[in-house]
Symmetry: none
Subunit: 156 residues, 2 copies
Amino acid sequence: MPSISDMIEKFIINIVENSEEGIIHIQRNDLSTRFSCVPSQINYVIKTRFNIERGFLVESKRGEGGFLKIIKIPVIQTKVYLDRISVGINNYIGSEQAKNFLKRLVEENIISEREMNIIWQLLRDESLPCDKEEKGYQRGKMLKNLIGYLAKEGGK
Amino acid sequence: MPSISDMIEKFIINIVENSEEGIIHIQRNDLSTRFSCVPSQINYVIKTRFNIERGFLVESKRGEGGFLKIIKIPVIQTKVYLDRISVGINNYIGSEQAKNFLKRLVEENIISEREMNIIWQLLRDESLPCDKEEKGYQRGKMLKNLIGYLAKEGGK
DNA sequence: GTAGTTATGGTCAAATATAGTCAGAGATGG
DNA sequence: CCATCTCTGACTATATTTGACCATAACTAC
């Protein structure tokens, strides 16, 4: 007895699987109408099923012409990265931990030295004007999205 | 399913790209007639898409023989551009504004497309789990640090 | 050359169209 | 019975579209 959320998940996955690039644009209201549920249930499905751990990136736009953009990424590779930085377990990433992670990405030829430097500029302590706990949490989010992109695009 | 504004944007960009000098003259009423929208929607498109972050200047003239003059700012020296946008980065940077800056950096050949995507993953709304005000403030800091680095290192 | 008329473009706030968040209610399985 | 998952709706955030009113330049009649 699959839940509505399960059906919505299957529906979306089916579209993604049949797309050329593994990238699709859908509308939240379309989906909620199709499945006779409230729009926010779509957000629930996105959050629980189409997250980075499961191999998806999601971007969106509001207003007229708005959409949900769902991007499928190779999940195996993503898992490897995620396990390595232990983002999957603990959302807090300290600045040293982040730096070490980036260095390893360089060593493994996944990003260039310059890309490492650029990324570092964006997530070092001085770029995140908030308290320590918050910094760590944000780095977690930032790196998760970065990993998603890298998993999709491959090495440098 | 793109919005009318998106189509108008594409239309204008196409004309600019196909022009000799990157400078075109168009009429607001022509456009609004062509796209069956109110004239002020053209102003909206100009304001949101043909701004300085994306590397455009717009001048206009009213009255008989009036026009919109859209100028694509030519690529200039990296250092000069970085200095210029550094000034433009105030405390609050919205996600669209940030995206515009990044697009321009790519056009200026200061960063690669891939670097733009990497940076985007780090500063888009979904990577900054805090309130709107805070997001904007952080993007400002992040971009300032990024620009500082790029100014030192030079283009890609 | 001044005043009035016409032809442009500009501004701004309200209306409309999407999407996001969050807390609590409801359902389900051990 | 408790934990977890799912569903709902009120409230929020953002992008676009529209229209009423404003500003400026050129032309025309005198």
